[in-house]
């Protein structure tokens, strides 16, 4: 290992951590441990005219954006919110079976729906009403929108894999590939709308909360 490598490792760790890192933790990752402060000061110096600066707070170090440009820069942080399971299921049924009435959706799902799912999907802009069904009561028919296609990256509705294709692609396997799906299955008995919408900050998707050894 070289001194140059030590520097690279420090830069990468400070960058990937996304939050201040203890000097002691940094020391563990490098070869020439006594050089730590020297390395850090060199990095600080070489970044001083860049848009990213190395800052020391207490005995922790972190990269942060430069103070100079603070007033020129507003970051729009995307905050993604996950759709509730009920809403997702409703959306899937509308996508495949449109145009469809609310009570037809309820029949397929086997549960009565609160107002939530349909209102919410309409608010997001993924579904819209389109005419009424010619049966007693003339219920509204629901269809998906162009925004729906755009968000899910499909060209048109016919591109959605049909039942046989879903089956052939493994979607109908009971084997759950990922915990999340198991959760969905085991949560089947949950009452309709009691699931909290989970908020996910997209920026955190790739940043481990606490780097571990």
């Amino acid at each position: 290992m070289s001194e140059q490598k030590d520097t690279k490792i420090l830069e990468a760790i400070l960058f990937a951590s996304g939050e201040p890192v203890l000097e002691d933790d940094l020391k563990q990752k490098i070869s020439f441990k006594n050089n730590l402060i020297q390395y850090l000061e060199n990095i600080q110096d070489s970044y001083k005219n860049s848009g990213i600066n190395l800052v020391k707070t207490g005995n922790k170090w972190s990269f942060r954006t430069s103070e100079d440009i603070k007033n020129d820069l507003t970051i729009f942080k995307k905050q993604k919110r996950k759709l509730s399971r009920a809403a997702l299921e409703t959306l899937a049924i509308i996508a495949y079976q449109q145009p469809i009435t609310r009570s037809e959706i309820e029949n397929i799902r086997g549960v009565q729906m609160g107002r939530g799912s349909i209102d919410h999907l309409m608010e997001i802009g993924w579904i819209k009403p389109s005419g009424r069904k010619n049966i007693p009561g003339k219920p509204v028919l629901w269809i998906t929108t162009d925004m729906f296609l755009e968000h899910f990256g499909i060209n048109n509705l016919a591109d959605l894999p049909n039942k046989n294709e879903l089956k052939a692609s493994g979607f109908l396997e009971k084997r759950s590939a990922i915990a999340k799906i198991t959760d969905m299955v085991s949560g089947e008995n949950d009452a309709e709308n009691d699931q909290k919408e989970e908020e996910i900050e997209s920026l955190e998707d790739f940043i481990p909360e606490t780097p571990k050894n």
């Binding site: 960058f15 954006t65 603070k70 942080k77 899937a92 879903l166 979607f171 009971k174």
Partner: protein, 252 residues
């Protein structure tokens, strides 16, 4: 893994599992590599013989073998015979050389994709080898809220629904085969006119089905129905001794 299966160790345990191969072409590819020549130079005749020998040997030890391995063995036997036939004999659309060439192509192409799949995977992967990072500290941040779901979640959600609905359909079918008390009640009520005399209970229940479970359900549901009708005053019921025949008749 195939080295265990040299020509000389036919007495040894033959414990290679076909599970380690992804189908007949994958097995052929492994066998071809054993010839230790460039795939384009591989002897198809020799390969066919090796494959057939492998499958025969495998069948002796493991009784179960997937159908497509056998289909391939049959095809290779055919190819082998074609390769050994006199050249000028015309049998069908493909010449043996064409078939040989096609098999080589299939092997080389699969080998090429196996190679690139390893190369792809050896690249530096996000979250395995390289990482995104950064921090929003010290910036003006405006939140931009959006709802999101991805196509996988959508398809999986729909698939789960399909599974759920399939399940409940099956349940209904199984259930309807059993004879319910309601059905028995309905049926016995229709029989009132014909049971004015004491009649054996067993003579009144419908013809037996071939399934034991259904027979039991018929007897028990009719029995419960009989008790119910007796209790409500429609029928009379008698039994001379324990385990004796049960007789019923309509009450006037």
């Amino acid at each position: 893994m195939l080295s265990e299966m040299g020509e000389n160790n036919s007495n040894n345990q033959f414990n290679i599992s076909l599970d380690s191969f992804e189908g007949p072409i994958d097995l052929l590819l492994e066998l071809a590599k054993k010839q230790k020549v460039d795939l384009s130079q591989v002897s198809i005749l020799k390969l066919a013989e090796q494959y057939i020998a492998f499958i025969n040997k495998y069948q002796e030890i493991h009784l179960e073998i997937a159908a497509d391995y056998l289909v391939m063995a049959a095809w290779l036997t055919y190819l082998k015979s074609r390769l050994l036939l006199p050249k000028d004999e015309k049998t069908d659309d493909y010449t043996p050389e064409e078939l040989e060439e096609a098999l080589k192509y299939q092997l080389q192409r699969l080998e090429a994709f196996k190679k690139v799949s390893h190369e792809l995977y050896a690249r530096s992967l996000i979250d395995r080898d390289v990482f995104y990072g950064g921090s929003l500290d010290g910036l003006n941040v405006k939140l931009d809220i959006s709802y999101s779901a991805n196509l996988f979640d959508l398809l999986k959600s729909y698939s789960l629904n399909l599974i759920k609905n399939e399940k409940s359909t099956q349940l209904t079918i199984t259930f309807s085969e059993l004879y319910s008390v309601d059905q028995a009640l309905e049926r016995l009520k229709n029989l009132f006119g014909t049971i004015i005399e004491w009649t054996s209970f067993l003579n009144l229940i419908p013809k037996f089905s071939s399934k034991k479970i259904i027979n039991k359900s018929i007897v028990s549901s009719n029995f419960v129905a009989t008790l119910e009708l007796t209790k409500n005053g429609y029928l009379e019921l008698k039994q001379n001794d324990t385990f004796e025949q049960i007789y019923i008749r309509a009450k006037e």
